[in-house]
Every structure is written in C-alpha cells, then in structure tokens.
C-alpha cells in the first residue's frame, strides 16, 4: 500500500478559496497543511510499532482594525470553516491594537525547489518491514539487538491571502535511524532525505553494529578537557542551539549571544555559515510564514557574525531589510534561520583520528540543554559509542561523559573540518554541517556506563 497524498494542491486551493470567501475581515490569510506519514518502529529485533496518519490543518488569520489573531481547524465542512474564520475575527477584535502590524503581502515570486520524490511517496509498510527485517536479522546473527525507526511521508502546504498572495509547497521525507545494542555497549546511525532511494538501512545498521562491537567493555576515563572529534550529527545537535540567536528579535530583546557582538571576531577563522533554503541538501519551502521569499543570508563570515535574519515587522523595528525568515503571525519570536549551512573542510574522520595523540571520538550527543544563554554554555551527554583515541588510533570504548561546553569556545577551537553534509540528529532540525575536531572540549563528569 503506497502512501497516497490525500489532499493534492488543487484540493487545498479549493479549501483556501472557500475560507477567503467566508471572511469579511479587513484582511484574511489561510495556511493549509496536509501530511501523510507512516513510521515503522522496531526494538528487540522485531517491529513493535507500525503507524500511519493522515492529517489536515486549516489555519485562518484575520486582521480587524489593526489587530490580528489565528484559529485552526482540521475539519473542512462549511460550518467548521466558518467557525474558524469567526473565531479568528472574534479573537482579533478582543485584543489591543497592534501598531507594528503590517499589511498582508501581495503576490510574490518564488524560486523553484524540487523536493518531491515519487519513490518516497510510493514506499509501503511492506517495503519498510522488509528493510527492518534485514537489519534485525543482521543484528541477531551477530548476537546484537537492533532498535530504530524507518519512516516515510508526504507533506503539502498552501499559503494564500485576501491580497492575492498564493504560495504552495510539496515535499517528501524519509528517515532511518538505528541503535544496535550489546550487553554493555551500543552504536547508532541515522540519516534522512526527501529521496528514500538515498537511504541505505543496511549500511547505517552496519556502522551502528561496528560501533557497538568496538565499544564493548567501556572503561572509565577521568573527566577533563580533551581534543574531541564530533561527527556531523553531534555538531548539528550542538550548533542547532545557535539558530534563534541569529533572529533580529533575539538581538532586539537582548537575549541573543550575538547581542553587542555583531561585526566582531567571535569564532574561529574556519567558521562560516549561511542560511540557505536553496542549498541542494536542504529542505523546506522557499517562503516564510507570511509568504515572503526566503533569501540566502551570510550569518557568520570567517568567525565574524555578519548578519541576522528578519521578519518584515522586526526589519521595520530594526531599520533593516526583511530576509524572508518570519514565523507565521501572530507570534512573539519574530523569525529564525531554519536552513543553516556550514562551510566544510576536506578532512576525513580517519584523518582527524590519525592526527590526535589523545582524545575522544563521539558518536551521538543526548539531552542537550542551555546552561548559560550569553556565553552559550550547553550541557549534555555522550551516547551510543564513545571512544578513546590514543596515538592516532581508536583505543576502545569509554564510559559516557557529561559535557559543559560553550559553543562560542568550541567554534573558536576547531582544528579540522570535514565536508559539510546533511546531518540528522535528535536535538535540532536537519542542517548541512561538517564533522569537527575540537581542541579542549570540556567533559565535566562521567556516568556509570
């Protein structure tokens, strides 16, 4: 059974037209999202959860006398749509006037992005079950235990307003994540892509299996500062905590770590990053929550924070140009870059290990939380395969460690960069990031396993 998109764009367009006709607000915006998702979950070498969902959300924003509010429904009958419109209007009428509210956008032009792959949309529960079965059998043969997920789906969205704006976007997505367990060790690998044909569950499982085997009988090493090699997924989970700091609103509110630091050397020379929705490894629509086209923005150039991103309202407040990164209105957060792309290097993980006299090789980071928002100190744990490096070789598994590390310091101490790839982690949305070899990464305590 293939995933069939339940609501092609034409259906969403018809719903949008009905909503706009029902509204007598000064301005009306309708944002419709439709998803068809399926996920096969396995553990203990068997499938224990297998789910599918079909959802539709119709979100209406009304503007009345300089006030705006939003109401959402998942029902498409006339009565429900009318109720959503009336709720948005009623909420808006009952709030104070918003002097910063801008008129809705008129028609915009968007750069095309192609992120719909029929092979992903056609994936069936049987396809996923067969791949999972192969992975579970491989684990069983090695006296290991596999757990993970294999998911695929289609999402469509449409944004239209009473001023004539019309934008739509369609994307497929697929993801495979696997943990391989042994008695006292584990390994992990994960990948996602709009094109399911680029995922290779067996290769990912092989990598996780090898890490579990190589980290058997982990020994304890003392906490301290170590040269640390972070694969792209671990880099992603750390630098993901920076994304909102690049919002104009965050700087305006003085809760960005870039407050007072824009234009000044803050990070290493080898750190350059952009927000770029058009990058071939990125996903997402080419427009923001108001329908403004997203721009590619250079955020950090050779260690110097150069630019922020702005919604239309924030740009006006900060006398800047909007960059197409605003969230759906109304909201208090403004905007954020959602498509971070780091400049990479040319070093392989093997070369990073080979050039390390004593250090730590991480597989995955976990439960990362912000300790200090201005110095950007994060805490978290290693997980699923942490290794000691001695004299340029991986010298076996070690017990997991807690870190308390400032990302600002970390990005000032990067000694080597790998090629930037589309990475998938757990704490952040997907980005294009490189592996990093970092000097003096601060591990503060050791756990029991």
């Amino acid at each position: 059974m293939a995933i069939k998109s339940k609501s092609p764009i034409a259906d969403l367009e018809r719903i949008a037209e009905r909503v706009l006709k029902l509204s007598d607000a000064d301005e009306t915006e309708v944002d419709i999202g439709s998803t068809t998702d399926a996920l096969t979950r396995f553990a203990n070498n068997t499938i224990h959860q297998n789910v599918a969902e079909h959802t539709l959300g119709i979100s209406v924003r009304a503007v009345v006398d300089g006030r705006t509010a939003r109401a959402t429904t998942n029902k498409t009958d006339d009565e429900s749509l009318r109720r959503a419109v009336e709720a948005a209007v009623s909420l808006a009428r009952n709030e104070p006037e918003n002097p910063g509210l801008l008129p809705m956008l008129r028609t915009q032009k968007y750069q095309k992005v192609a992120r719909f792959f029929p092979a992903t949309a056609a994936a069936t529960p049987q396809d996923r079950a067969r791949a999972v079965t192969r992975v579970c059998k491989m684990a069983e043969k090695r006296k290991q235990t596999a757990a993970g997920i294999f998911s695929s789906g289609v999402s469509q969205s449409l944004l239209a307003n009473s001023k004539g704006l019309f934008a739509h976007y369609e994307q497929t997505h697929s993801e495979f994540s696997v943990t391989i367990l042994e008695e006292r060790s584990s390994g992990w690998a994960k990948s996602n892509s709009p094109d399911i044909r680029t995922l290779d569950p067996e290769v990912l499982a092989e990598s996780a299996s090898r890490k579990a085997a190589e980290s058997r009988e982990p020994r304890e090493i003392p906490a301290g500062r170590y040269t640390t090699i972070l694969p792209p997924s671990a880099v992603l989970d750390l630098v993901g905590f920076l994304f909102y700091d690049f919002a104009g609103t965050a700087v305006l509110d003085k809760r960005s770590c870039f407050t007072g630091r824009m234009g000044k050397k803050l990070l290493g020379d080898n750190i350059t990053l952009w927000d770029d929705v058009y990058h071939p490894l990125q996903t997402g629509p080419p427009y923001d929550g108001e329908g403004l086209p997203r721009q590619k923005v250079l955020l950090v150039d050779k260690g110097v924070p150069k630019n922020l991103v702005y919604s239309r309202a924030t740009a006006k407040k900060m006398k800047a140009r909007p960059t197409g990164h605003g969230f759906s209105l109304p909201n208090e957060y403004g905007e954020a870059p959602m498509n971070l792309v780091f400049a990479g290097g040319d070093k392989s993980l093997d070369e990073m290990v080979r050039t390390t006299e004593r250090g730590i090789l991480v597989t995955r980071l976990w439960y990362i939380r912000e300790v200090d928002p201005y110095e950007k100190i994060l805490t978290g744990m290693t997980r699923d395969g942490t290794f000691l490096i001695e004299n340029g070789r991986v010298a076996g598994g070690i017990r997991n460690l807690r870190f308390n590390e400032s990302i600002i310091e970390m990005l000032s101490n990067v000694e080597m960069l790998g090629p930037a790839v589309r990475a998938a982690g757990e704490e952040s949305f997907e980005m294009v990031v490189p592996a990093m070899k970092v000097r003096d990464f601060h591990f503060s305590e050791v756990t029991k396993f």
């Binding site: 789910v51 959802t55 757990a147 957060y333 201005y374 807690r402 305590e445 029991k448």
Partner: protein, 486 residues
Amino acid sequence: MMQEWANSAIETAKRRGATYADARVMDIRHRDISTKNGEVGTLAESESLGIGIRVIASGAWGFSSTDRLTREGVDACAAEAVAIAKASALAKRENVALVPEKSYVDTWQNPFLKDPFRIPVERQIGLLLAADKEMRRVKGVTVAEGSMSFRRIEQLFVSSAGSSIHQIKMQSGAGIVATSFAGSEIQKRSYPSSFGGQHMLQGYELVESFDLVGNAGRIAEECVALHSAAQCPEGQGTIILGSSQLGLQIHESIGHPIELDRVLGMEANFAGMSFLTTEKLRKLKYGSDIVNVVADARLEHGPGLGTFAYDDEGVAAQCTPIITDGLFTGYLSSRETASSIGEKRSGGTVRCESWNRLPMIRMTNISINPGTWKYDDLIADTGDAILMDTNRSWSIDDKRYHFQFSTEIGWEIKGGKKGRMIKNPSYSGITTEFWNSCDAICSRDYWTLWGTPNCGKGQPQQVMGTGHGASPARFRNIKIGVAFAK
C-alpha cells in the same frame, strides 16, 4: 457521532482479521495566549477531531489514524491499521500478549469551576498585560513575558472487548517570566514555575489563584538582583530544593526510569533505556527510608496533568507504589509490558497526545509523599547549604543515572538562616546516590502538585502533560556548581 465512528472502526478491523481492536475518537480544543513587553504575541485557538485505530492482527500491532470522519474514511483507516499489522508480522518474534482488563462503559469529566474558553479573551490578555506592566516597572528588566494555555480534550475509547469510555479533561495553565541582560549575563525569573508556568486539570480558577500581578514585581526585582548576586560555589555540600525543582527531579530521575517500555528496550533508539532492569524490582534501595513515591492517576491524588479515570487503552486509573520506604517497588506499565514481566494487571499509564498518535506508557502523577518538616524548621536545622528554586536547565543520561540541573535562583543558608542570593546554581549526581542522600522532606502544607506540560517521548514524538507532587526537601553531600566550572 463519536460512538458511530468508533463502532464502525472496530467492526471493520474485526472483519479484516483483527483479533483485538480499539479506537480513540478525540476532539481537542486549544487556546494559547502570550504577551511580550506590553504587546500580544500569540493569540490562537485550534480544534482537531479525528480517530486513531489500534489493532492486533496476525499477532502484531498496527495503527492508523485519520481526520476523514466519514463511514468510508473510518473504514479505510481501520483496514489500513490491519494491513499495517500484517506487515509488522513479517518481523515478528512472538505474538503480542496483553494482560486482561475488565471492560467498562462509563463517562467522566474532571471537575472545574470556570470554563476558560468562556472567559473573554480580552480579560485573559488584560491579566497578562497587567503582570507584564508590573515586571517592566523594574529597571533592568529587558523582556517581560506572560502566557496562558487551555486545553479541552473530549475522547471516546471503544474496544473490541466491549469497553466504551467517554472522558472530558479540562486543562489550564499560565506563567510569567522576567528576563534581564546586563554586562555579559542573561538572567531570568519565572512564576509560578518556569517553562510555561503551572498547569493542572482545572478551569480558569487555577489561573486566578496564582496572583500573577501580585508576584510580577517580586520576580522582576529578583531577576535584576541576580546580576549582582554571588556566583554559586563549586564543591560538595547540602542542598535544599524548592518543590517545583524537586518535581522536575522526580520527573527525570524517577518518572522516566520506571517506564517499563524503556526498561524492556522499546525506546532504545530515541528516549533511551533505564538502569532499573527487572531484577531490581523490590530489591533496589532507590532512596533513603523517608522517600516514598507513588504513580497516582486517581482524582483523589489531585487534579494533575496525569489525572484521569481510564487510560488510553481502557484501564482504570490506579495508584502504584513506586518507592516504598526507599525500596523500589513498581513500574509504569501497559497491558503489553505488564504481560512481558509476568504482572497480572497493567498499571494503567498508557496515553496518547492526540487521535493521530499511538498510545504509549506515560507518567501519570509521579509524586513524593510529604514528610514531617515545617519549612522554617528545616532551614533552621540545616547549618550551611544552598537553597535552589525554579528550574533553568535539566539533562540526564539515556539510562537515567547521571543528571545535572540548574535553577534560576539560589540562596545561601548559613548557620540555619537564609542569607544572600546566589546566581547560577547547579547540582549534579547519580540518581540512586541522590535519592539515598535525602534526609528531610517538608510536610503536606508545602506540597504542590506541579504540572509538566512538555514531556517528550516516542517516535513520532508525543508531548504529554505529567503531574509531580512535591514539597521542599534536603539532600546531603551533593556535587554543587559543576555547570559553570572552568
């Protein structure tokens, strides 16, 4: 209509070969309001209605959900759930087994006084803006924020075993936060708790009980004062945790490790596993003799975010002793996981976020029983310590051994007296060592059933509200200040 859709789903699933089926029709309504620096931020309402159908066919699970609530839509969804179960059976090792549970035909609604959806939104915004104004009166406050959120969840559970359970849950919550930037430091203070405030299964009367406006100036002043407060020292020592921080400590270092699906490896890929392997049941000394913890979903425990009459697989709400006089005595279980470890009945802890999500084991109200101490007596008895209150960050390893927490504010206790303010307090430790170091818990007079509205678990991830009753408590020989150590 709910009954008709659910019955139709069960019939179709059975006809297609399901040996067991249950259906949840859920109608969920939200209202979210936030303010920032004198302006309205979010102002939104939403409603979502749909059905989730869970089946066992060919000895394996299948689940599908839809918001296409027509006869054809529901039947197609039920058929898809059965087809998915049959695909799952391709990688099956053994048939799914469930412990028995009686069938129930019942209806239940949590009591509340004021329907928050009937309170004019203008009044709700007005309250947040009044608190916002009080916070911004204090020089040095750079951001003043407030939020309210309300949920009404109506659900009908129907199973092929004959249950038909209708429940309505009304949930309310609110909170305010002052943030201050100065020099190279961002400090914040929240009330009544951090990360969205306090949430319970109550009506708007809960929000009115907080006195947000009356507390706004105090937290704003504390926030600004933190900049000139002494840095939390590093070392080993005594700490006293405020009740909301202790609630989160319970959540992370007791609530999650006792989830039996984690213990059995079902969450190994994402949320992780647990150090509480099954041979430790009724053997492990989890805490000191004064530590008694229950998982209690019954209304008599209080209107917490983990309170209900029946869980989402039709099991009646229960109270399970988790830690009894320091001994580990119970897990959070489902009908399937209880069967896996030879228990006779599910603990009734299975819930789902919405109609489109598969029900799974979630914390109910995981609470520590009150002790005997009066708060002032506890402080006077303590000698030297750091009192820490209101969570700022939390992190714990994937087996729930090693944790680190920091709080928004602390106070030095010297010679049994509360002294100067301490900034950036943090503490860390190993779960069982920590709970075994507890030597004093305040009495019922200081006990609050806190709500954690943002607990994430599962793939696809589900966010669930959980309850945690706690009163201030004292812990000895704890590692302090490591989060900011150089």
